[in-house]
Symmetry: C7
Subunit: 94 residues, 7 copies
């Protein structure tokens, strides 16, 4: 199992489907686009300067939107994950 | 529903109409221009170093002006939204 | 009405007159030049790390000098305004 | 023995095997990839502004994932180590 | 009258005389050179994070040396001034 | 004698021997490599924001590993030294 | 007399003699080299965020080593001085 450190969160990514026209995959444009993912593991949180710990704002099972170019991809146990910092999570889909 | 995290705010954008002369759309110049939008969801706020939470300075329903190049665009449920940080909101139109 | 957020201030700008020689408008040189403006709206101020609010140092009606390249221009109700951060105001003309 | 300072951690690296096709080593692509390693020594931790010490979040023997381009490689006693800052450790494999 | 804001100081500048050889003005070299000026107005000071105000370290009438490329030049009432931040003042000439 | 200031440490460097093949000195590659040195003088430490002093984490006589491109070389009394900040010391060799 | 502000220190510089071979002055190499100087005036110190003042770590008469490219040169009363920030002083020669 992967245990993320600090304010990190491990997610399974759900890439947006590429749009195709007549079977031809269209290239993405350069604009920054968010993606969605499902949270599978959550770190203990970030230690603040006063010694307290600020827990990540999502929990296991949440479906989230994150900045496309954020995070570190990790291959583990035959699956591909993305490790994000809490601040790179834009919104929760409820 | 989209629930923005931290000091983020979700808005429906209202693009300024392109100026046209005789039906020809004029290109925007390079100057940074604000846009207007309507707030549809507000995060819980930013956690300060002393542990308190600073709530965003706008509320649902506010019409706001924001910096044009700020924010992350999010497609959700067939509609297009913009997720902004509170600091990128310039003014409220009252 | 425009309500600026945080440490922002809305001003009506007063561009320096371009110098002309025999009717020819002279180009500005590249040096950073301040401009003057009149304050029409003032934000509530910046929230400090200790939770207190630091109010902007100008008030409605003040004539101010600001850094030329600071601020965001905003068109509202047929008029053109400039939204500045308090720190970009150089001096008050008394 | 190597004693890392502050929030540093010494690890033995475990490079991912290069993928080969028919005996030809394939070049890595440019994407940032994490690697795994085993912790062999841990610093005393980072001194916070309030004078307290924040201990690294891993311990000797942990198998970790870290950012590929982080750390300083150190040759010592005929072996090759990597010295990482605690913040460059992405996750623990449990 | 000009009232500088925060940690700003208004000075009348005293440019170093250009060196001339046989009537030809020699170009300055590219090295950063300080200049001298006389303080004509002083701001109330910078508000620190703890809410206290740190007053500028010069007073009206002081002759100072400042970094050549610091400050904003301001034309007011037919005269040319320079508005400096307190930190750009190098030394007082006593 | 050299008395380093703040969190600085003076060391005698021990350059890694250049590898030679058949008498030809091989150029170092561009990768950042640590070096080793022996501590000969230690500063009083860095003054923290709360007024306390954080002493350097090494002492005279320690053999250390440091980042290759850190520090300022100083010639004094016919010998060559390197002055490092405490944070550039990677590990102590015990 | 020059009175340096804040954490500044005024020194008389002592340039290293250029090495010459057979009367030819050898160009300095590009490596950052410290220089030595004698302290002639010391500022009151830097005001910390908690309101206390941190005095410079050198005193008048000290011979110091500083980073070659630090400081602002000042011509005053027919002599050439260098104004340094306290942090740019590397060591005291005792």
């Amino acid at each position: 199992m992967l245990k993320p450190l600090g304010d990190r969160v491990v997610i399974e990514t759900q890439d947006e489907e590429e749009k195709t026209v007549g079977g031809i995959v269209l290239a993405n444009n350069a604009k920054e686009k968010p993606q969605t993912g499902k949270v599978v593991a959550v770190g203990d949180g970030k230690v603040l300067d006063n010694g307290n710990t600020l827990k990540p704002s999502v929990k296991e099972g949440d479906t989230i939107i994150f900045d496309k170019y954020a995070g570190t991809s990790v291959d583990y146990d035959g699956k591909s994950y993305l490790v994000l910092h809490d601040k790179d999570i834009v919104a929760i889909i409820e």
